[in-house]
Amino acid sequence: MKRSIWLAGGLVVAVAAGLMLWEQEPQAGGGRETSAGGGSQPMENLGEMDPEQLAAEQLAANRAVLEEIGEAPFEGPITERPAFVSHLEWQVLKNVAQQHPNPEQEMTRLVNHLRFAKQWDLWQETDPQDVTRHRALAEQLLEEIPSRVSNQELDPAYAQQMQQTLLTALIPDAGERRQRAAKEAARIGVQFRVEGGS
């Protein structure tokens, strides 16, 4: 069932990509272009890719976000496509950013948000038995949540829910978890009293 949804989604966007690239001139990539794994294709060839190729490239880009663990968010203009951003996503984000009064700043925000969203999706899909990856992703997400709140990408209430979910998986001890939750909440401007804490 889940696989069919993924494929449907991939197919939809593949059709979209095909349509988009049919009408648009290929753009020369400026600066460093980061490969998004085995499925990556130059922009000029995207319109010729079949849906399965596009889906494969997208899957590879989604997995590439693992390489971002431990990396700080982007600052300043992003001129090269990061590996975790597929060609299609790159084009969509550029289109969206162009509508903004400050396209470069908006592009940076969008890419950082996409990285966070992919890491969140990946964390939810990751088997908790894969402790190293699961913990690393959780810590990375906790670290970035305040930035996502201050950028108006998450509202504080939802952000706090995310923190609770992540901490539940990360810290088995309830007392220790409450202490950490209070600290994390404070980072997004939410105050609450810790009861029973040491």
Partner: protein, 599 residues
């Protein structure tokens, strides 16, 4: 009747009259005093419609009102028994010059129930910015017309309104047209085309004015009358109101008609102790406070020996006074626009339809339109339709009316009386836009979106549902892709609703919907897609404003909300989350009742 008390009161009034400033007989209009002294009639004589005095006034009409000048006035008129009386009112004239042909047309706006206390007088409420009918008055001013608002008889100092004494009210709204033309610098011509427009009590007033025009005011250039929610058959209305949500109107009618016809309706003799208390309380209240105060009360709990309404109506003088208020005994010589809410819970639809038939049988030119909603909503929903119809009359366009109708007679859809006061919004039009912050794009809901709700003003509970058809919206994601979006209701729209003593409506609730991307593609080639917000989006629906907003189109809920992350978007879930989720998403929901139909 308490004769010693009555005699003492008469003596006091006589003494007061002697102490009043005297104006020369048939004096030229003078500027009246400031403050409440304006409401003490000077000793003067004059013909009906003669201006006694006037003064510049300041009225608060709220946002959207055009610049206008206004005056208070006091003028001579005639009560229901044919005796001279004096009436106060307000004249409002747009500052902008009249752009149409001829003189600026005049609308004599006949107000609905305001309440028996002097502070409820329209002239005082307009000055205070608390008049609940401001929306209709503003609509008429925006059309460029001069608007004359009679207070109705009985709001001068020391007086009691003769509420629902139809002839007196009809006289008052005709005479104010004559009197307004006498105010220096108001720019109102005595030959100007004039119309009378009123709803509820005002519908009764307007209908009486229409019937009386030929005999009482043949000099006026009356070109049309609009009368809505009209109480035409008093015994029938009394039965509908007794023990029902609109009981306060019946209680006020007894006080008002008892004041006009003290010999026929001897209130002091008929009322028991509780009734006397109710009367004194009613005289201190304005319409919305009274509405809730005696809601669902039966008249039998206020009468000596707990006489029922039917028993009271067997008293010949009472019956006579009530039936004297019945309309339809005369032909109306000007075109008449009648309108009524099919769900009117206060004034029965069928007796207004019967009035239409009576007028039609007398070869009057009648147009009847049926509105879908209840009493208060219809009062304000009708304004643009009424003004359009009156505009045609001012412009000299002929109307044939619709006395001949092949449609079946409409049946009332009113909520049952005797319980909570529930204003039902059935299949109201929902016009909404939902902003997508990151995409800098609005989603506009399709035309057939509706909101259905019961707003229980007694229990102060709002409970409703949204209905939004699937629709196609192109998103600024990857052109030229068509994305089929559904804004799917997630749970019931619930909250609180209240109507305060000043007629201020307060709504606080939340609507919940999922934002779904059902499919994407081009034209007929649409690929199904199960992408949606992982939780429902909460849209706060908060409103505070005049109750007229229910019908006037001003019931709008705006704000910002937060969209949760997306789910089931396949390989592109993160991308859709980035593009569509997050806080700061602006929305605007506007709800309006369905359009009227002609019957």
């Amino acid at each position: 009747m308490n004769f010693p008390y009555f005699q003492a009161a008469k003596s006091c009034l006589l003494a007061a009259a002697i102490a009043l400033p005297a104006l020369p007989l048939h004096a030229a209009p003078v500027v009246g005093p400031d403050g409440m002294a304006f409401y003490t009639p000077p000793a003067s004589e004059g013909a009906q419609g003669d201006l006694i005095w006037y003064r510049q006034a300041s009225v608060k009409l709220g946002n959207g009102a055009p610049d206008a000048r206004s005056w208070n006035l006091m003028y001579h008129s005639t009560d229901a028994l044919g005796q001279p009386n004096v009436v106060t009112g307000t004249v409002i004239v747009p500052t902008a010059s009249w752009k149409g042909r001829g003189d600026r047309p005049v609308i004599s706006y006949a107000v609905g129930t305001h309440g028996l206390n002097q502070s409820c007088a329209p002239s005082l409420q307009l000055a205070a910015g608390t008049d609940y009918e401001t929306a209709n008055i503003v609509a008429a001013l925006r059309a460029g017309y001069a608007v004359l608002i009679s207070d109705n008889p009985g709001y001068t100092n020391g007086d009691t309104p003769t509420y629902l004494a139809g002839k007196a009210q009809g006289h008052a709204v005709l005479d104010i047209i004559r009197a307004a033309a006498q105010i220096p610098q108001a720019g109102i011509s005595s030959n100007a085309k004039a119309a009378v427009w009123g709803y509820s009590q005002g519908g009764q007033t307007a209908s009486w004015a229409a019937e009386l025009k030929d005999t009482y005011a043949p000099d006026l250039n009356l070109v049309g009358v609009a009368a809505g929610g009209t109480p035409a058959n008093f015994p029938a209305i009394a039965h509908n109101l007794d023990g029902s949500t609109g009981a306060s109107f019946l209680m006020q009618a007894i006080v008002g008609l008892g004041t006009q016809y003290p010999d026929k309706i001897p209130v002091d003799e008929l009322a028991n102790d509780r009734g006397q208390m109710m009367i004194e309380t009613a005289k201190q209240q304005c319409v919305f406070e009274a509405l809730f105060d005696v809601m669902n009360e039966s008249i039998s709990s206020y009468t000596v020996g707990n006489q029922t309404l039917d028993e009271l109506l067997t008293i010949p003088s009472v019956n006579e006074a009530l039936t004297e208020q019945n309309l339809g005994q005369n032909r109306v010589s000007v075109p008449l626009y009648q309108y009524h809410g099919q769900a009117d819970e206060f004034i029965p639809l069928d007796q207004h339809i019967a009035l239409k038939r009576q007028y039609c049988q007398r070869f009057s030119n009648v147009t009847f339109e049926l509105y879908p909603s209840e009493h208060i909503v219809t009062q304000f929903q009708a304004a643009p339709y009424v003004l359009s119809w009156l505009g045609d009359r001012f412009n000299g366009r002929p109307t044939l009316g619709n006395c001949i109708s092949l449609k079946p007679e409409p049946k009332s859809t009113a909520n049952p009386g005797g319980g909570n006061f529930v204003v039902s919004l059935t299949d109201w039009n929902l016009a909404a836009t939902i902003g997508l912050n990151t995409l800098n794009q609005d989603i506009t809901l399709p035309n057939k979106s509706t909101f259905t709700a019961d707003t229980d003003m007694t229990a102060q509970v709002l409970d409703g549902t949204l209905s939004i058809p699937t629709f196609k919206q192109k998103l600024n994601i990857v052109l030229p892709l068509d994305v089929v979006i559904t804004v799917a209701p997630a749970e019931r729209t619930q909250g609180t609703v209240s109507l305060d003593h000043q007629g201020i409506l307060q709504v606080q609730g939340t609507a919940h919907t999922y934002i779904k991307v059902n499919s994407a593609g081009l034209g007929l080639l649409q690929i199904p897609f199960g992408c949606q917000t992982e939780r429902s989006v909460a849209f706060p629906i908060n409103f505070e404003g005049p109750v007229s907003a229910l019908g006037s189109g001003d019931l709008t809920f705006t704000g910002t909300t937060s969209f949760p992350p997306m789910k089931n978007c396949g390989l592109f879930n993160s991308l859709f989350t980035v593009l569509m989720s997050g806080p700061g998403q602006k929305y605007s929901f506007n709800v309006t009742p369905p359009a009227p139909t002609r019957w």
